[in-house]
Amino acid sequence: MKTKLNGFLTLLLALMVQISFAQEKTVTGKVSDASGPLPGVTVIIKGTKTGTQTDFDGNYSIRANTGAVLQFSFIGMKTVDQTVGASSSINIVMQEDAQSLDEVVVTALGISREKKSLGYASQSVSGEDVSTVNSGNVTNALSGKVAGVQIKRNTNMGGSTNIVIRGNTSLTGDNQALFVVDGVPMSNANLNTAGQKTARGGFDYGNFASDINSDDVESVNVLKGAAATALYGSRAANGAIIITTKKGTKNNKVDITLNSGITVGTLDKSTFVKYQKDYGSGYGAYYGNTGYFDEGDVDGDGIDDLIVPLTEDASFGGRFDPNLNVFHWNALDPDSPYYLQKRPWVVAENMPDTFFNDAVTYNNNISMAGSTDTGTYRFSYTNFLQNGIMPNSELRRNSFALNASSKLNDKLTVNASANYVKSDATGRNETGYSDNIITSFRQWWQTNVDIKELEDIYFKTRRNVTWNPSWYDNPAPIYWDNPYWARYENYQSDSRNRFFGNMGLNYKITDWLNVDGKVSIDTYSYIQEERVNNHSNPTARYSRYDVDFSEVNYDLMLNFNKDLTEKINLNGVIGTNIRRTDSRSIYAATNGGLIVDRLFAVSNSVGIPSAPTEGSAQIGVDGIYGLASFGYDKTFYIDATFRRDHSSTLPSDNSYYNYPSIATSLIFSELVDAPWLSFGKVRVNYAEVGSSAGFAQLTDVLTKPDPFGANPIYSVNSTKRNPDLKPESTESIEAGLEMFFLSRRLGLDFSWYKTNTVDQIMPVSISTATGYSSKYVNAGEIQNKGIEVSLFASPIKTDDFKWDINVNWAKNENKVISLYEDVTNLQLGSFQGGITINATVGQPYGTIQGTTFVYHENGQPIVIPGGSRGAVYKKSTTTDNVIGNMNPDWNGGVSNKFTYKNFNLSFLIDVQKGGDIFSLDTWYGYATGLYAETAGLNFNGVEKRAPLSEGGGIILPGVSADGTPNTLVSNFDFYGHALGYSRAVSKQHVYDASYVKLREVAFSYTLPTKVLDNTFISGMQFSVIGSNLWIISKNMPHADPEAGLSSGNLQGYQSGVMPSTRDLGFNVKIQF
């Protein structure tokens, strides 16, 4: 932005000044600043287009007439005019200029403002920084780059990314940041089911901000606090991500850019199960006569044979013995090469980690930008294709973008943007517990089962020949399908056609007053289809969910900007906004199976399908707003905003709300004369914003279960609505300090904030003895306070070499102050393993609750004799113990950029400290004996799994009831031991979610322009890009601590989570 601005200014000035006539000669010299020579300084003969630049050593050479004025300009420096005199050598020492550093940023409602005048925190990220590493979701690329923005991507293909700015403010509402692209609010919805979000099963369909094409992003500005977003009124509570897309530039040529990349992702084994390899199928020693094998006459010779306990989805069975031959699952199928063959009882050669493919991503973009006499334009097309690590998974996206602006006459400018995106996915991975292959791999698996053999038999037969049949003579799966069958026969697909764009007119009434009118729309039509073929373990089914959504915004803004005196400037906006959203959906599914195999149509239903579920929700908000910004001597600024919203989702006598804000800033560097201080500003603000009720939360409606035969059924809805709702309201105060030192080689941006959100709209759980499960109330308060620090430094800056560091760090402290009446706990979600996620008074939002240890007064957990099943941890009798919290203590990121001549190396380290996760994977997986920890030698040097009588067992760390160290040996010879779900306390499976990740590494080489001088190519860049290459540190075993279920308010829980990938890519960018 700033370069452009300077360029224009220079050009304008150059045109205005008269050309003087004199003798032409060569003028040379050196340009420097306080720190040394300045390369890249523009030297232009004032009034002409003739110019040059200083080289790496700050030297320049130009032919000019005596008497001509040389103008030296450089970003961040005061422009110097020097008349050419007798001497043909002119050396210049340039001075910093705080004013010229005025970065212009796009703020709420698309209003461009000088950053220095803002009384609130905002942080920008360049388009390059979000597009270098393209994960398919632009949200991911902000991770670690903006202080105070907490991003939790997850490992699902095309999965949703949780983005929360400055903590959760709403107990049960949406806490995700608002996305705005070129002034168009973009739905970042996540249409995952409640079952998906509570780990019961289902697909993660991703969050819809992923439709934003990172190749088209010019810049991202993050508005963090309420004062920054106050002009959005009732949708301002969660902060905003303001994205500006690339536009054509006015340079009388067509810029064509080709950007092409390929990325290969490989399994990061540290995020997947490390299996034990000593024991196979079973839950203990209670099968057949041997204890470890079922018996039956498999081969029909009249003699019972030993059979692997096929029905069991655990590996707490017999010790492997290569000399023992038994019948395995694939001895039972006539198409198997091992049909009726006994094979050794050994660990599988190919464990589930071999199930994953390498993920390959192709991203190809072409853009054309340019200008005409009256305007600019830019076209862009991107093709994105990603194959996930799961077999039969694919994401495809085609994005088209058009941006144009034209000056119709002196006063009237029209600009428009149109974006069309078609996103398709096939074979997203299942998430959560049920029917999820990864749940099987992580929780319920036999280590004797070979993945490759499952693959071979599926592709040979296209039947569901599973490792987990109901019995040796009944091949129907009991719990788990052949995973290849599950991937290829039971797959989902989804497709979204999305258009977003706007058209606006700007009419310049006078030079200080103009009016903007704009209509913008974001609309999509969307379908999710889910399939389960016949012969699967889950009941065969097909379902489709169709959604049509649109949001239309009409904006009319009167902008003024006037210097009242030489020192006093007043600018601002008066405007109105009309917003209408319309969302319609229909869900239809088969019932009781499919008639014809592989025919996925609702009509192919065995039973009569339930009536489709329809939804139709319209929301409207009408707002009027004003912003007045008063500036004194470019030193002191005060902003006041006001918005009044009229919301359709509130009761009519209660539907108008006012949202004020006031923000001030003082640029104190203007007041002090300290050469080391390049820029200094303090800012303070206060704001009140809100968030309105959801659709139709005021009136009770009935639920409509399926009829019983010809008898219709209606039922009272289990959630009691509330006709007296008012909006949630957030009050926020914030203070900040921005400073730059030593010619801007060092910079600091610090913020402190406190927000209190009251009158929460929430369905509180109530005793079902009331006849309801929950009722809507307006109550409760959450407080968030925190600090954010950004540091910028350029420790080394020489002619050839430059090193830039950017550090972002933020800590948010969240506290639930009150809930509803005497209620002290609000359950947000209930999960398997006896776990709940809650808002608890006096605690941070998102406590993980479950059973815990009983501690001795010396702080150690107490171990008690557990009877015939061995010693266990003493378990709390209650399940409402706080055993963790999903909020991290702090997040931070450190990015480094090294530039050496045409080489560029950058890397980003992303850190999260704290936060907890309950793992259902180890909760079950320890019991089922999959993990390495469940085998091997014990304190005696004997196999843990040996009976106590043979010296087996484990000693739990802890103390006996009297406080002395525990010496009781716990049985470890069957699944019901003290570490797994059967007898563990929940807290045994809560892990610290901290991580240090090498998030991004990019190495690029830009071809020197002289190489390309005589070609049609004007620029070329090669890059090698790594993403998530190395989890430097984590405390969560067997999984990525970022892996989770979905975006939204329920975090801190893992079940059947995908492993993560290390991504390495190669990218070529060519400009013509």
Partner: protein
């Protein structure tokens, strides 16, 4: 200036739109009112679905009665009912899914104008039937938990309902049931087809109400003999079930969600979670009971073989629930004639309803015969002739004789079987050594949700019942 006028027009639009913005907030796809009958049908289905379910998240009573036991995942067989929040599920099913909809049904019916005297009679009968179902649901709660919210229940404005004394509630329920019976007019109609138990037949409902009242009278007898006696007498006088054709059965259909819930868990899921439990199987085998081959399938070595209760059991090594119970259309027995006949035998032993102990044997024989008949098993007469079965010669007190045979006849009626065990103390069921408690539970612990959402009321109730434990005997369970 044309553009300016367009802009002004937009401004005008703001204010014109804004007036009736709230009209957008109408849910046009969901009903706000519906016929009273539709709530009644739903309540009936929810009630029976719960009682019929064998899902380990919902209904574990068949295991508590040791009729079946688990294979790989025996947590519930070992009386761990908190992990899966079974008490919470029962609580919600009865209060929210049954009682609330019954309440709504009565409200809507009362507010719907009736036509003529026939209409008035129909309404009266409908309300009486609703009342019978209310009593059934509340009785199930009291018999399971003891003290429960009653006078303050079903009111969303009071989110902290207090618990009422179990006995007080139970006596009130008996009174309500008597009043409902009195108000029934068997010449009139009621719900018609919307009643999916009796098709609106008021006479049948009256017999059911009396039979259930007989049951309540016997349950209360040990703690209030006088009231028990009068309750039993008035029920018998008014008319209880007289044959299997009076049975309260719920006929399921053959496609989801209207199949017997057992079908979903046993067949549709493809899971193999249950095997026959040794205690009932051994008892039946010992009595040469031919019903064992209906109740169970897959004999091992020619005989039905039950697994040790509460252990980890291999599905293959033991017999399984009988084929009959794998039918999607399997009717669920809410209350049957055999049970009533056993109750009459007990009433005779207690000299109630004008009977003497001499009458017990005939009722006992009729009860067993009714059970054979219901399952279409022949040989009842021969069975009854065995000294181990014959009333005169079978082992033990009348409680043991009736208790043992009733346990068999109440196969697949888990809740009734568990309650009769608690009341009669026969058969002598033993808790597994791995159990969470070392006796067969005498009640359910209160829902975890009550601890967190209704804490003060919960705490008071827990102490009032004598401790919120599985082992606490309820007020009616004196022996």
């Amino acid at each position: 200036m044309k553009k300016i006028s367009i802009l002004l027009l937009t401004l005008f639009l703001v204010f014109s739109c804004s007036k009736d913005l709230e009209n957008l907030n109408q849910d046009t796809k969901n009903a706000t009112v519906a016929a009273g009958e539709s709530f009644f049908t739903g309540a009936q289905k929810n009630m029976v679905d719960y009682m019929a379910s064998i899902n380990v998240n919902r209904n574990v009573w068949r295991q508590f009665a040791q009729q079946v036991t688990a294979t790989t995942y025996p947590e519930e067989a070992n009386y761990n009912i908190t992990d899966r929040k079974i008490p919470d599920n029962l609580w919600a099913a009865m209060y929210r899914d049954v009682l609330k909809d019954l309440d709504e049904s009565a409200k809507v019916l009362n507010a719907t104008p009736t036509v003529g005297t026939a209409g008035a009679t129909t309404l009266k009968n409908q309300l009486a039937i609703i009342e019978v179902m209310n009593v059934y649901a509340f009785a199930t709660l009291v018999e399971t938990f003891g003290n429960v919210p009653y006078t303050e229940a079903l009111d969303f404005t009071n989110v902290l309902p207090k618990y009422d004394d179990g006995k007080t509630v139970y006596l009130d329920l008996i009174a309500r049931l008597s009043a409902a019976i009195t108000s029934m007019d068997t010449s009139g109609s009621s719900f018609g087809d919307a009643d999916i138990i009796y098709g609106g037949n008021v006479a049948n409902w009256k017999k059911f109400a009396n039979s259930f009242k007989l049951r309540m009278g016997l349950i209360i007898y040990d703690v209030d003999a006088a009231l028990g006696a009068s309750t039993v007498s008035s029920a018998i006088t008014s008319g209880v079930f007289a044959s299997n054709s009076d049975n309260a059965i719920f006929q399921y259909m053959n496609s989801t969600p209207n199949t017997n819930p057992m079908w979903v868990d046993l067949v549709q899921s493809g899971r193999l979670d249950f095997v026959a439990a040794a205690p009932l199987v051994n008892a039946m085998n010992g009595l040469n009971d031919p019903r064992v081959n209906v109740f169970y399938k897959d004999p091992v070595g020619g005989v039905i073989k039950g697994a040790p209760y509460g252990a980890n059991n291999s599905y293959a090594l033991f017999s399984h629930i009988g084929s009959l119970f794998y039918e999607s259309t399997l009717p669920h027995v809410v209350l049957d004639y055999a049970n009533v006949k056993f109750m009459l035998a007990e009433a005779a032993e207690r000299s109630l309803g004008g009977m003497t102990p001499a009458a017990a044997a005939a009722h006992y024989n009729a009860a067993i015969t009714a059970s054979f008949d219901y399952y279409g098993v022949s040989g009842a007469a021969a069975y009854l002739l065995q000294p181990s079965v014959a009333y005169a010669t079978a082992t033990g007190t009348w409680k043991q004789k009736i208790g043992t045979q009733k346990w068999i006849a109440l196969y697949n009626q888990g809740f009734n079987a568990w309650t009769e065990f608690r009341r009669l103390d026969y058969p002598a069921l033993v808790a597994p050594s791995t159990g969470v408690v070392n006796v067969v539970p005498r009640r359910f612990t209160y829902p975890i949700g009550e601890q967190t959402l209704n804490g003060a009321s919960y705490t008071a109730a827990a102490s009032a019942v004598g401790g919120d434990l599985l082992t606490t005997k309820l007020f009616w369970d004196k022996f």
